[in-house]
Amino acid sequence: MKYEVSRKAYVKVLLHAAKYPANAVNGVLLGRLDQASGGNSAVQVVDAVPLFHSLLGLTPMLEVALIQISEHYEGAGEGPLRIVGYYHANERATDASLGGAALAIG
């Protein structure tokens, strides 16, 4: 399984984290599943939508956001995008663990 991350998605994720250096941030990754590349499927991550930068584990706004994102991008002009991933940055720079909230959303 190959994963291709577009520059736009990558930069957006980094900028979101950089905008709130003291907080944990999270968001969704949008893209397409490319099944035509010689038998190996590749996931193309085309875009990213930042979600929260405080109190990340709370569901009401998360549900609203996920519904609106999937509805909006499914009807997008240049080709429908699906939610293909989730990004999460912890508060501490050295902490690479996935907390309970990240696992639940993922």
Binding site: P21, A22, L55, L56, G57, L58, T59, P60, M61, E63, V64, I67, Q68, E71, H72, R92, D95, G99, G100, A101, A104
Partner: protein, 361 residues
């Protein structure tokens, strides 16, 4: 002597006539100019968006709580820094860009007077945030020179140690200060922060609970504890923290919203209490009441009512309230988006979202 009499009479009566004139003056001025009448309502007008003479259809509400103060562009650097010190905002890059030139030049240091030490402290913390180690060193050096025995400066030394991850030394320093002053709130909080920075969440929670036993009226600490509990997914305890916050500041719509969100999360995670969704709905409604412009409160009201509707199929009267709340929230959301000049895509997304939750009947 009749002339004297009239002079005396006039002298005594003039104040009387003058006082009558001033007594009736407001009435005359009032009829002539609208501005005089509404100047009494200046404070209210500020709440209503600063427009004098606005129609009375707009209800008087206290200002919504913004975590960032709007500071006028015409204010000087030192006034802006002062405003940020008062509100406690964290704006490291801006503080460094404004304060560094101030402390570098001897004339502006002199112009600041005694404020220069507060500016040094503010710049120190901002420099730590921006990773400007040598600038932080300089500020700390100046402060240590001026206040060699100060506990407040010791706390800053501890912060610097924390910033380079020398947590053991920082904790030792705080323990030393707390041995002399066991109720020093700011150092107690730094001890909690040190634990948190090391990832020792359980220890941080324990320490913060001890702190809150003593300092029960500290909203910042309750918020921090709620954050720690949410990180550990202990929703009931986090809800308790937000309940304390609501008790402390019942007019703050953000705390109501947060409490409601935690209750809703507890309900969907499955481990909460049976009345979670109803309580969530109530607090979302209260938050909307306190701040009609809060989209979060309206979305939350919508989601909680939809969840209640689906949970209580055919519950008759209770279902009816939820249905009406769903419709109300939907209508208010669309109105809010239009009021805030939302883009057509946003409005479209909202409409699709509402339709996706189409309730039967």
């Amino acid at each position: 002597s009749s002339c004297h009499f009239f002079v005396l009479l006039f002298t005594y009566l003039v104040p009387f006539w003058l006082s009558l004139y001033f007594y009736f003056l407001p009435i005359f001025v009032d009829r002539r100019s609208k501005i005089r009448r509404s100047s009494c309502f200046c404070a209210g007008a500020a709440y209503r968006g600063g427009q004098l003479g606005r129609s009375s259809r707009v209800p008087l509400r206290p200002p919504t709580h913004n975590s960032r103060m709007v500071v006028g562009k015409n204010l000087s650097a030192k006034d802006r820094l002062k405003a940020w010190r008062a509100s406690g905002e964290r704006r490291p890059a801006e503080v460094v860009s404004l304060a560094e030139p101030l402390v570098n030049s001897a004339t502006s240091r002199a112009a600041l007077g005694d404020d220069v030490w507060s500016v040094y402290e503010q710049l120190f913390v901002a420099a730590l945030d921006c990773g400007r180690g040598e600038l932080a060193d300089r500020c700390l050096g100046a402060l240590r020179e001026r206040f060699p025995q100060s506990v407040r400066v010791k706390r800053l030394v501890g912060m610097q140690l924390e910033s380079v991850e020398r947590f053991g030394e920082a904790e030792a320093l705080y323990a030393e200060v707390l041995a002399e002053e066991p109720t020093n709130a700011s150092v107690l909080k730094r001890a909690v922060a040190t634990k948190r920075m090391q990832g020792k969440t359980a220890a941080a929670i324990k320490l913060l609970n001890e702190y809150l036993h003593v300092f029960m009226v500290d909203p910042e600490a309750w918020l921090e504890l709620a954050d720690l509990y949410l990180g550990a997914q202990m929703y009931d305890m986090a809800a308790h923290c937000f309940e304390e916050l609501v008790l402390l500041t019942p007019h703050n719509h953000l705390h109501h919203t947060r409490l409601a969100e935690v209750r809703y999360t507890a309900a969907s995670a499955g481990g909460g209490r049976p009345d979670d969704l109803v309580v969530a709905r109530q607090h979302f409604a209260k938050a909307h009441d306190l701040n009609p412009d809060s989209a979060r409160a309206l979305y939350g009201l919508f989601m909680a009512s939809v969840a209640l509707l689906s949970a209580k199929q055919g519950a008759g009267r209770v279902g009816d309230t939820n249905r009406r709340l769903v419709e109300l929230a939907a209508v208010q959301l669309v109105a809010l988006y239009k009021r805030r000049n939302a883009s057509p895509e946003a409005l479209n997304a909202l409409r699709k979202f509402i339709d996706a939750h189409q309730v039967s009947g």
